[in-house]
């Protein structure tokens, strides 16, 4: 049972990380949202599996929250925003896809090299999980800086939160309050982002950051 628990948790975590990579090379907004939904699903599955294998019922709540918020509400809302505002559906990367992938792989290497020696006392699962979630966080950051579109920056931010929740469910004994607060902060951030997108759109008729930057009065 423990072996199976370890393997399954490891696999689900790896799926979350894989989805992070998938986010990096998407060229269309809708497929970006689909990948993000899948990442959230994988995350919810991880949380549920941890709840089951470690017998910690409060993690079911985390799983449920993730499922409802991240996998349903946010993607649907973003989808509607994109349709309503008639945003151009392609993403212009600021950094080439190939280069982004290379950078992503090296970030994963860095986080593994970093986490594994630091956490020698912890259990194997915690260590792997921490390495995975740090990678997800770093990839989310990379996504935020390598995309010019505001919606994809929002998605990058959300995937950073996914990394944090992955870390939270992986470490045994994390109280529910932490997860709840993370979930609510994501919600708040999402609302703020939504309002911002509307305002930016109203003002500038575009969500392409490169075009918006030219309105600041200073040249890049």
């Amino acid at each position: 049972m423990t072996d199976l628990g370890y393997d399954a948790a490891h696999m689900l975590g790896a799926v979350v990380l894989l989805m992070s990579f998938a986010l990096l090379y998407q060229r269309r907004l809708f497929s970006l949202l689909h990948v993000f939904t899948m990442q959230a699903l994988a995350l919810a599955a991880t949380a549920a599996w941890q709840a089951f294998s470690h017998d910690e019922p409060h993690l079911y709540i985390t799983a449920l929250l993730t499922l409802v918020l991240k996998a349903v509400v946010i993607p649907v809302a973003l989808h509607r925003i994109i349709l309503k505002m008639n945003i151009q559906r392609t993403i212009e990367p600021a950094l080439g896809i190939g280069l982004t992938m290379v950078a992503g792989v090296s970030l994963v290497t860095l986080s593994i090299l970093l986490v594994l020696p630091v956490t020698e006392d912890a259990t194997a699962l915690t260590r792997e999980n921490l390495a995975l979630s740090l990678s997800v966080v770093l990839l989310g950051l990379l996504m935020m800086i390598s995309r010019r579109n505001a919606v994809s920056q929002v998605v990058g931010f959300m995937s950073i939160e996914n990394g944090l929740i992955l870390a939270a469910v992986g470490v045994a004994g994390m109280p529910l309050v932490v997860e709840m607060s993370i979930a609510f902060s994501v919600m708040v951030a999402f609302i703020i982002f939504g309002i911002f997108l509307f305002h930016i759109r109203e003002r500038f008729d575009t969500l392409d950051m490169q075009k918006i930057e030219s309105f600041r009065g200073e040249s890049d």
């Binding site: 020696p117 770093l138 935020m144 600041r216």
Partner: protein, 674 residues
């Protein structure tokens, strides 16, 4: 202890009253009366404590401030002495301020009433703080309260600049003190003074700490070259606040130096004192030279404060040097001289700022070139100003003389030290101090002669009238004490002997069997002694003789003077032909200023037949600005310009920068972990 804490609480109540009742016509009377009463309670408590052998051993821990740490308060003999000085200054400033406020009703001025008690309370808190947090918080509140008080005259030209400079220097000073206390507490992480005393810092930490305290407290006290803010800020504030800042707040800075250098740092090393001696001498000479160049009365007084702080720092340096060489009796003599000068300076500097305030009230001017002849129009103020000027010039039998006399006794003990470099340094410092004292005499002859003697130089000076009772009372009290302490200094020295004993473990009168109360003969003064009563009698006798001789021999003699009026004989001689402040300062400006200040006189003489007046222009540069502050300001500007480019980047760039910083830090962790 309870008295002090409740007095401070009462001062806070007064500050609140000052806010609430500011529209009431009786508000100044309430607030200044309440402040004076609170200060009087503390003065009585401090005097009683000192007379009873000094200080409270048990501290108080109040549950306010940082959680689980609280605020440690304690008043030992040193605190009690400084409480006495500060609150006495507070009483006289409240008295004077009450009259001054009534005479200067300016609806545009910023609020003074709520801040004045706050300032007093903060100074008291610094003195009784017994942990580094309480000390720094009170220190910063003191700075901020006085900064706001300076800003209350914000409509006057020059005040905004003075206030900005003061804020920068005060922040710098607090930062230095913060670092100093951080160094003191690093070893054990406990910020209470007891814990710091119990753990002596390492040699290098102590050295850094000495430098930081000299920078931090020195910038507040006005050590050259950190004095630049002091004359501007002190002279910009309302006069009773100027008196508090100059006469009292600088003493709080001196307290900080004594507390850290003599008490918290443990056993001193001789070079600490050597550094202080050097800076003290520089400060004394430069301060008085600056003062001689000033035309503004209050600025002149503020620079004279710089000079006196120099003298006090010399005394502290001597005490440290002798303490380090294990001759505590001489250290006690030097520290006694320093503390006595602290008391004296707080008295006569308050008095002189009050007279400057009175002159400002009566004439509306602080410019020496627009005063003159005030002795006929403001006789009381003139007599009191004369007492202050004579006391600060160290003329016997006034208190300034006693302090300087004791200080020179300590300097004359310099050859008793083992280090040759110190023997020579002390001789040089002694010469510099003698020069500064003599120049201070010249400076105050100039001040008094130009402002009060001669003929009025402006319409305002002709129409001046004597100031009100509150102001006169505020001046008379310190003047009376200047005379009393000059004639009978020994009781005061006896009173603060516990403080000296606490710091250097010896008293000034040790191993001397009998010490009468009217006789000042400290041990190790090489057999010298001072008796104020004899001095007073001799001076009174000589003065009477002189007056008699003048009246007998000179008054009724025929006097002839040339017809062009410089002999002041005509019915309305032109006041412009009088000696002026700048002509009085010219010889000294020529002798010292041409090198130190690069002063240049330029005379513009009109052609014959031209009716323009001739014009004398004096140009001088301040070496502290030219050599230190202007280069620093330029460098800061350049750096700021570089850094401001960071403010004009796109969001993505910022994110990239943060991301890169994160990655670099993570790589560093990864590399250093293995």
């Amino acid at each position: 202890m309870g008295f002090v804490v409740s007095a401070i609480a009462f001062l806070f109540v007064m500050a609140a009253t000052g806010v609430a009742a500011r529209r009431l016509p009786s508000a100044p009377a309430i607030v200044y009366g309440g402040s004076a009463a609170a200060c009087a309670v503390v003065v009585l408590w401090a005097a009683a404590t000192l007379a009873g052998g000094g200080g409270v051993a048990e501290g108080w821990v109040l549950p306010i401030g940082l959680p689980w740490i609280g605020t440690h308060l304690r008043a030992d003999a040193l605190s009690a002495f400084f409480l006495l000085i500060v609150n006495f200054g507070g009483i006289t400033a409240s008295l004077f301020g009450w009259g001054y406020e009534r005479a200067h009703r300016d609806s545009h001025a910023g609020p003074v009433l709520p801040l004045f008690p706050l300032f007093l309370a903060a100074m008291n808190m610094v003195l009784i703080a017994d942990d580094a947090f309480a000390f720094l918080v009170s220190w910063e509140s003191m700075s901020l309260a006085s900064w706001l008080l300076v800003l209350s005259t914000h409509r006057e030209e020059g005040t905004p600049r003075a206030a900005r400079l003061y804020l920068i220097m005060a922040s710098f000073g607090t930062a230095c003190l913060l670092l100093a206390f951080g160094l003191l507490a690093t070893a054990h992480g406990d910020y209470s003074f007891d814990a710091i005393r119990a753990h002596a810092p390492s040699v290098s930490a102590a050295a850094f700490c000495v430098v930081l305290v000299l920078l931090g407290a020195g910038s507040k006290a006005g050590l050259v070259p950190l004095h630049v803010w002091l004359p501007l800020a002190h002279s910009a504030a309302p006069s009773h606040v100027s008196a508090l800042m100059s006469g009292v707040m600088t003493k709080v800075a001196v307290y900080a130096m004594i507390r850290v250098l003599f008490d918290l740092l443990g056993e001193p090393v001789w070079w600490w004192g050597a550094v202080m001696l050097g800076f003290g001498a520089l400060t004394a000479v430069m301060g008085v030279l600056y003062a001689l160049m000033q035309e503004d009365v209050k600025r002149l007084l503020a620079y004279s404060t710089v000079e006196n702080i120099g003298a006090i720092v010399i005394a502290l340096g001597l005490a440290l040097v002798f303490k380090a060489s294990h001759t505590p009796v001489i250290a006690a003599l030097a520290l006694t001289a320093g503390l006595l000068h602290v008391a004296n300076h707080s008295l006569f500097k308050s008095l002189l700022f009050f007279t400057a305030g009175a002159v400002l009230t009566a004439t509306g001017s602080r410019d020496l070139g627009r005063l003159g002849g005030l002795i006929h129009r403001m006789p009381t103020t003139a007599v009191l100003a004369l007492v202050g000027a004579a006391a600060i010039s160290a003329l016997p039998p006034l208190n300034g003389f006693v302090g300087e006399w004791l200080l020179f006794q300590a300097i004359l003990n310099g050859p008793a030290l083992p280090e040759w470099s110190l023997k020579i340094e002390i001789a040089v410092v002694g010469a510099a101090l003698a020069l500064a004292t003599a120049l201070a005499g010249a400076c105050f002859v100039r001040f008094y002669g130009i402002a009060f003697l001669g003929r009025p130089r402006s319409r305002a000076a002709i129409e001046a009238t004597e100031v009100g009772t509150g102001m006169r009372l505020g001046m008379a009290v310190p003047a009376a004490l200047c005379v009393a302490l000059g004639v009978l200094p020994t009781p005061l020295i006896r009173l603060f002997e516990p403080a000296v004993r606490l710091m250097v473990e010896a008293g000034p009168f040790d191993d001397r069997a009998y010490q009468p109360w009217f006789w000042l003969a400290p041990t190790s003064a090489i057999g010298n002694s001072y008796n104020g009563l004899i001095m007073l009698a001799v001076i009174a006798l000589l003065s009477v003789l002189l007056v008699l001789v003048i009246h007998r021999r000179a008054s009724d003699r025929l006097r002839l003077s040339i017809p062009w009026g410089c002999g002041f004989d005509g019915p309305d001689p032109a006041a412009v032909t009088q000696y002026t402040a700048s002509s009085f300062g010219q010889p000294i400006r020529r002798a010292f200023g041409s090198t130190v200040f690069r002063a240049r006189d330029q005379v513009e003489m009109p052609e014959p037949g031209d009716t323009r007046p001739a014009r004398l222009t004096v140009r001088w540069t301040d070496p502290a600005w030219a050599l230190l502050f202007t280069p620093i300001a330029t460098a800061v500007d350049r750096l700021a310009e570089r850094a401001s480019r960071l403010q004009f980047m796109t969001i993505r760039r910022y994110l990239t920068l943060m991301f890169l910083a994160l990655v670099v830090l993570l790589v560093m962790v990864a590399v250093t972990q293995r």
